[in-house]
Symmetry: C2
Subunit: 451 residues, 2 copies
């Protein structure tokens, strides 16, 4: 009996995890799944963590835990750096790994269109740490507004800007609106949280371009009721700790969130594969890379031409189906059968607005309002990995829905040693909480006076 | 009608929160509750967060949320620095606050007996940030053990030291033991997590000195079954990133946890009140400070002589009862009635060992094993603040108990910007995860390569 084929999967997100699971019973292979993190993240619900509706553990599962029963697989915590396609070797932070089959499913990150200095003042939403940082800033803004007597400062703290009119931006903006108008409504004495102003900025002519105009319109009206103003055809030219410059105007805001640009992991481009402008790797119909039949790409890192000749969007259903397709191709190879081509079964798109509304579109079917929200709920819970997560998220949402209370409203310090010692007169620990100060002093410093 | 009396409560822990609630319907007062943090923390369950059994949001509640319906109260996020007893003014980070009644319930922190440099290598367990940092280090240790081929390194990563044989130390040690022998048992391929060695170090002659010898003995036997060795009459002389020096020996360990010394908030000593050696403020029978009848102390900051002439322990039931007593005294004053004296109703002590055992002692009643654990469960759930927390903690524990799975096993980065950008060849982001390196480079640096 020959040696087992070495299968390497880079990334434990939707694509990688489903690829691994699809090879659960496959004999004759040894799988290594490598990820920088120890957990699989259910990204569609990350905004709920950012808006203090869910805890990180509700939407993440330890990769080892999910795959512990799979005997032909081992999980490695490390970082993939470079693919040597001719030698069939993957260079990683923990050594060189030889492969017979390689799946690159390392996902995508945010792009600030060349303005990386904006990041410190406008966090994105791709990781749990970013989500809790956003949560911290949003809650802190209300605290700051409550404390100050300066009306201009108060206004600045009660102004929230979200850059990017796609589903993520819409969901974030709507959630802040809901928080300000319902959840926090009774919590403060000096301010009326309902006076919070939320501005959603989109460079294109309309928000939610992937949805029909009718549904996008409906979404904007629902957002308005939550206090969200939408500025379309507006391009951000600068972001500082004071606010945002957009289309010649300056918006004074202490909280700016980034949901605009996406760029794929550089693993593809650095390995010299043909990529598109966002760094996504071009693939054949079976998801393999041209001239490298044993190297595959799936998920947000993948540029796959759909039937309309456009690349498939970077959404979860695409990643899940592509991950599973990799499994099918490997098994076909092992059986000596021809490789199947990948065909995406369009599951449509959804976006929530606040706590009880959404829009959903599958082909010609369009839903809006509460029915769309129910559909969204069912779909997302179904896809959550691991029974615990599903049950808990249901319970958490049910509670939140009934009471408007957002249970996970914790403001946590950036430095774990903050608050660990008695401060009294220790000026380093003294707390003049302002997100602006936090941001200014963010890089490379001892952040014991972080909030 | 005269102006309302200004009542200030410092700290939203068990004492402060219960003091505030006890004055819910009291007319003629205006209460300000000031806390550096925005949440109330259920500290007895903090070790569960550290051991990845619960999420931070399960054991914390936003103070504003808990008290939002109390009309005579406002919550201020700030830090109390100094009490001017003669002027009846409290200096805080957000200004000078005048008071008619003041309750100092600012709690206590860890003490490293003058060796503050040990903190970086041996985190304590008093805040959520410390709990998640401990969680990170413990999980990371197993990951490191899995990755290394050096048997000495592997041993070091699989050795855990807990300093301090009180309830916190016992609970931490038992939980690591449970994690290594059950929860993570199937997760790794190179290591057998059951080989983890846990050493509990106590300077006194036995662990759990506040319990009877019989129960303390039982606890030690239960701990042994979870892989915990107990070293009594052993004093730690040094802690570095490599391990611990204790009683002339060196233990090579990559994870050291601190549960040994306690010192009260310096608010008392810095305000020149008479304090004991730990900084706890001496009080009269009605909890007021000698010569300052309108300034009170409750909780861990308070030194109250019990009937045996010993100070009451710094545990939750004491804090809760003292907080409520403050409410009674204020109301007695407003009615022109004599002030009641404080009498502690001893609710006993409890400590858990692992997932299904505990010891509990109330007066002469002693329980051990599973029955004690059930009692512990009921009591702690009852005292959790807020219905959501109770329900969720029940669900979470039930699940954990049934399946041994620890759902909240996330390793999160210290820097929220870590993982937010595509690293590929960016060496600053390259991941050679070792807690030792993290610790060595901990202070004042850019921790983008933190785990």
């Amino acid at each position: 009996m020959s040696d087992p084929k070495q299968v390497i999967i880079v990334g434990g997100g939707f694509a990688g995890l489903n690829a691994a699971k699809s090879l659960h019973r496959c004999k004759g292979i040894q799988i290594t799944l490598i990820d920088r993190r120890n957990h699989h993240l259910f990204q569609p619900l990350l905004y709920q963590v950012a808006m203090a509706g869910l805890s990180p553990a509700d939407i993440a599962a330890p990769i080892r835990g999910v795959l512990s029963r799979q005997k032909n697989l081992r999980v490695v915590c490390g970082e993939a750096k470079h693919v040597d396609a001719s030698e069939q070797v993957l260079s990683t932070s923990i050594g060189e790994l030889r492969f017979d089959y390689l799946l690159l499913s390392a996902g995508a990150m945010h792009s600030y269109f060349g303005h990386d200095d904006w990041e410190i003042n406008a966090p994105g939403l791709k990781t749990i740490e970013q989500a809790t940082e956003i949560r911290r800033r949003v809650l802190q803004a209300f605290e700051q507004a409550e404390l100050t007597n300066d009306p201009l400062e108060r206004r600045r703290h009660l102004t929230f800007v979200v850059v990017g009119g796609g589903p993520t931006g819409v969901e974030l903006a709507g959630a802040i609106g809901e928080m300000s108008r319902f959840t926090l409504a009774k919590d403060f004495r000096n301010i009326d949280s309902k006076q919070a102003r939320i501005i959603l900025i989109e460079a294109g002519p309309r928000v939610l371009p992937m949805f029909s105009e009718q549904l996008a319109s409906r979404a904007m009206r629902d957002l308005e009721q939550l206090g969200v103003q939408t500025w379309t055809s507006s391009r951000v030219t600068n972001i500082t700790a004071q606010g945002v410059d957009v289309s010649g105007e300056h918006i004074s805001a202490s909280t700016v969130l980034w949901a605009a640009g996406i760029e794929a992991s550089r693993l593809g481009s650095q390995s010299h594969f043909a990529c598109d402008r966002q760094g996504r790797v071009m693939v054949n119909q079976d998801l393999s890379i041209p001239e490298h039949p044993n190297i595959f790409v799936a998920g947000d890192l993948c540029h796959f031409r759909g039937p309309d000749n456009q690349p498939l969007p970077g959404i979860a259903p695409v990643a899940i189906q592509q991950g599973r397709h990799f499994g099918k191709v490997v098994q076909a190879d092992l059986r000596g059968q021809p490789r199947p081509e990948f065909h995406y079964v369009d599951k449509g798109q959804m976006a929530t607005i606040g706590r009880s509304r959404a829009i959903a579109e599958v082909g010609k079917l369009r839903l809006a309002g509460f029915s769309a929200w129910l559909a969204w709920l069912v779909v997302h819970i179904y896809f959550l990995t691991g029974f615990r997560n599903r049950l808990f998220v249901i319970m958490s949402w049910a509670w939140s829905f009934v009471t408007f209370r957002r249970g996970a409203r914790l403001i946590l310090a950036k430095d774990w040693r903050a608050y660990a010692k008695s401060p009294a007169f220790d000026s380093q620990d003294s707390q003049a909480f302002t997100p602006a100060e936090d941001k200014a002093s963010e890089s490379n410093e001892d952040s014991t006076h972080a909030a």
